[in-house]
């Protein structure tokens, strides 16, 4: 990497590390003071605050004000990981976690949430002297990308580089998601998929190859390089595979823990309320909460927590939504009924869409036919995003996925896109035709959540996320796929008064691969909320009309969440979802082995 180039960006040409603008957040005044002094000794520009909210406010006011954020893990007003997610999603800044404890679990959590580093207190000056490298890493990709295509720097993607995106094009890059996210910040961008970076679209075939390679190598030995060699696909880079693998792993984890999560989710549902509250955080918070909620609230909820998350998405307003959602999301297909609850969810408007999507997803399971309950589903959308996204996002984020989902702008895309009529349209078309991929959504929705997010972004940004997350749910993929698409749709639906649309969607969903069919939907719904998308859509439509605005918000949240996830490649999810969907379509059998991705997190009912 050319430091010179990097330096060029900075005021300080000659001494790059000097003048690095750091924002330090720690509730402990002593640590903060010490940190401040240490950083100044390194000749950085330091801003300190003991409150995460203030930090966020500062960051939001001016995204270019800081180069790096250092945050304590444990803070009273906001969980450090949550802040981490938010920053990663919204601003795409490198975040370093700081903690007095060095539990590997916490470190892992930091990693999954996208922290670039984890320092243990007391911090030594030597460690601080090197933190600038993280800033360079992020920026570098744009430069290096052009130079080294094959650079295995995920970070490269990190930088909001459309260029990178272009390079990687279709590949989901983890960082890209971040960058993508930051670009799009899907939450509120109404532009349908304007910002989307070209991602690697993990088509079903591609994904199959991938999974095949992984299985052949054995999950332990499956390293990106080998997988790449095995797949023997032209144009696919190791990074693409790496990020995809990461998502996949998360998916698997989720699937495994889905069972427990489901239980949690049920619990979570109860918690929904709490989540909903969490949502109040800033929407983001909500989002976070959702993801977090899943985690936080239900710990187990993770994927399902998305339901909770949904709540979050809705942000306090939506909280009501979330409630609805959460249950549904959390509750796997069974809960779909819960989805029905969602109607409430839509409060935030945005959320509603999200929820709706989610809800629908959820409901899809049970509802399948009950799309009418769409209201639930629709609400579910938020949920869905959560679920899938939320669940996927939220939940996922909660654990692994969380990172991926949340961070994934994809979700946002999904959501965003979904809102945009894109969904509806694709939905119709897609739904029916989509069997395999909701992607057909045309919106991009299916294409890996990312896509979905794009178009949806506006409204469905959340949905997108959801979808994405949904996509992530490999297992659910099938359903998710549907969900994903659905989610998107869901989101879209929300926007789209397409009640009618929903129905067709539902049908299409069913058609698609049966996945959509309620069963699948269930699966998706559960996992994906996205899957529910179809349901969601329906619901959304129904609900959407009213709730749309809310769903949006949810979506936004969701989007945010994905981001939070720590930059997990939400995008990846998209692809995952898409893939899943595709796969699902391909194989009517729900339980595609691949689908064993951790989508289970949704545990909706994935059936995965």
């Amino acid at each position: 990497m050319t430091v010179e180039e990097i330096r060029g960006d900075r005021d300080n040409y000659d001494n790059f590390p000097v003048g690095l603008r750091v924002l330090a957040v720690d509730d402990d005044p002593i640590c903060l003071k010490v940190l401040d002094t240490l950083l100044r000794k390194c000749q950085y520009h330091v801003t300190t605050t003991s409150e995460a909210r203030i930090a966020l406010k500062m960051l939001r006011e001016n995204k270019d004000r800081f180069d790096l954020v250092i945050s304590d893990v444990q803070m009273p007003d906001m969980d450090g990981f949550k802040l981490l997610e938010l920053v990663g999603l919204e601003m795409d800044l490198p975040v370093i976690m700081l903690s007095a404890h060095d539990d590997s679990k916490l470190v892992m959590k930091g990693v999954t949430h996208g922290a670039c580093d984890y320092l243990v207190k007391p911090v030594r000056i030597e460690e601080l002297k090197n933190i600038w490298q993280h800033v360079i890493r992020r920026k570098k990709p744009s430069q290096t990308k052009s130079n080294d295509q094959g650079k295995a720097s995920g970070e490269a993607n990190g930088s909001p580089t459309s260029g990178n995106g272009d390079q990687n094009g279709k590949f989901n890059r983890k960082r890209k998601d971040e960058g993508y996210e930051s670009d799009d910040n899907g939450n509120d961008s109404e532009d349908p998929g304007t910002q989307k970076k070209p991602r690697v679209v993990w088509s079903i075939e591609l994904h199959r190859k991938f999974v095949g390679a992984v299985n052949q190598l054995g999950i332990e030995k499956a390293v990106p390089k080998r997988i790449l060699d095995m797949m023997n696909v032209e144009g696919l880079t190791r990074e693409n595979v790496a990020s995809h693998l990461q998502k996949y792993r998360l998916y698997l984890k989720r699937i495994n823990s889905a069972a427990s999560q489901q239980a949690n989710m049920a619990a979570a549902l109860g918690i929904k309320d709490s989540f909903m509250r969490m949502g109040s955080l800033d929407g983001l918070g909500d989002y976070r909460t959702l993801s977090g909620a899943g985690r936080l609230a239900n710990a187990a909820l993770s994927p399902y927590t998305s339901g909770v998350m949904l709540g979050r998405l809705n942000s306090p307003a939506n909280i009501s939504h979330l409630r609805n959602l959460t249950p549904p999301s959390l509750i796997q297909p069974n809960h779909t009924q819960n989805l029905k609850m969602h109607p409430v969810l839509s409060p935030t408007g945005q959320n509603p869409s999200l929820f709706q999507g989610i809800q629908s997803s959820l409901e899809l399971d049970d509802l399948g036919p009950a799309i009418g309950s769409s209201s639930n589903l629709l609400n579910g959308i938020p949920n869905n995003p959560l679920m899938s996204g939320g669940g996927g996002f939220g939940n996922q984020s909660s654990h692994n996925m969380a990172a991926s989902f949340n961070t994934e702008p994809q979700n946002a895309n999904v959501i965003g896109s979904s809102n945009s009529l894109l969904f509806t349209e694709p939905f119709h078309g897609n739904n029916c035709s989509n069997g395999p991929y909701i992607q057909n959504n045309s919106i991009e929705f299916s294409s890996s959540a990312n896509v979905v997010l794009g178009p949806l972004e506006d409204s469905n940004a959340h949905s997108m996320n959801m979808n994405q997350t949904n996509n992530q749910r490999w297992g659910e993929n099938r359903q998710n796929f549907v969900h994903g698409s659905n989610n998107n749709f869901g989101s879209l639906n929300s926007h789209i008064p397409a009640n009618d649309i929903l129905s067709p969607l539902n049908r299409s969903l069913d058609q698609n691969g049966g996945i959509f069919n309620n069963q699948k939907m269930d699966m998706f719904v559960n996992g994906r909320s996205g899957g529910c998308a179809s349901t969601l859509l329906q619901q959304n439509d129904n609900e959407k009309l009213g709730t749309e605005p809310r769903t949006r918000s949810n979506e936004n949240f969701m989007l945010e969440q994905p981001k939070l996830q720590g930059g997990f490649v939400p995008q990846s999810y998209d692809s995952l979802d898409d893939l899943v969907s595709a796969m699902i379509k391909r194989e009517q059998d729900v339980a595609t082995p691949n689908c064993d991705f951790g989508f289970d997190d949704y545990s909706f009912g994935q059936g995965v």
Binding site: D28, K33, V34, T37, Q74, A100, P122, I125
Partner: protein
Amino acid sequence: MQKQLAKMKQSLFDQGYLDEQFIQLEELQDDANPNFVEEVVTLYYRDSVRLVQNIEQALEKNPLDFAKLDSYMHQFKGSSSSFGAKKVKTECTQFRDHCRAGNADGCKRTFQELKKEYATLKKKLEVYFQFARQAGPVEKACRPK
């Protein structure tokens, strides 16, 4: 004076009251920031009083809320280690272990120990800083051997 100071510091280190971090902080002291370490320590003792009180109150509850205690201790440990309070930090770690194990008695016992160390260190540092001020701006990099 200086020698005495150095000796004092050395003994603090030898006895395990302070660790490397303290030195690091001292190194941060310069003309612009001559009493940095003292400021930090003062701030610490002021701020942690509240924390100690909270913990004590929490320890009186029944049953104990381990999660909360753990979180208090997290903060306590963080600040203690920031300036190198070694023994206090060790007690914090122990306390946390007890919390994790759900050992209420262990927690209470450890906390008593912790308070003792905390108070002892405070006194010693007070003396130390008094000396330091009298001795005037001193060699920073006076590392205990």
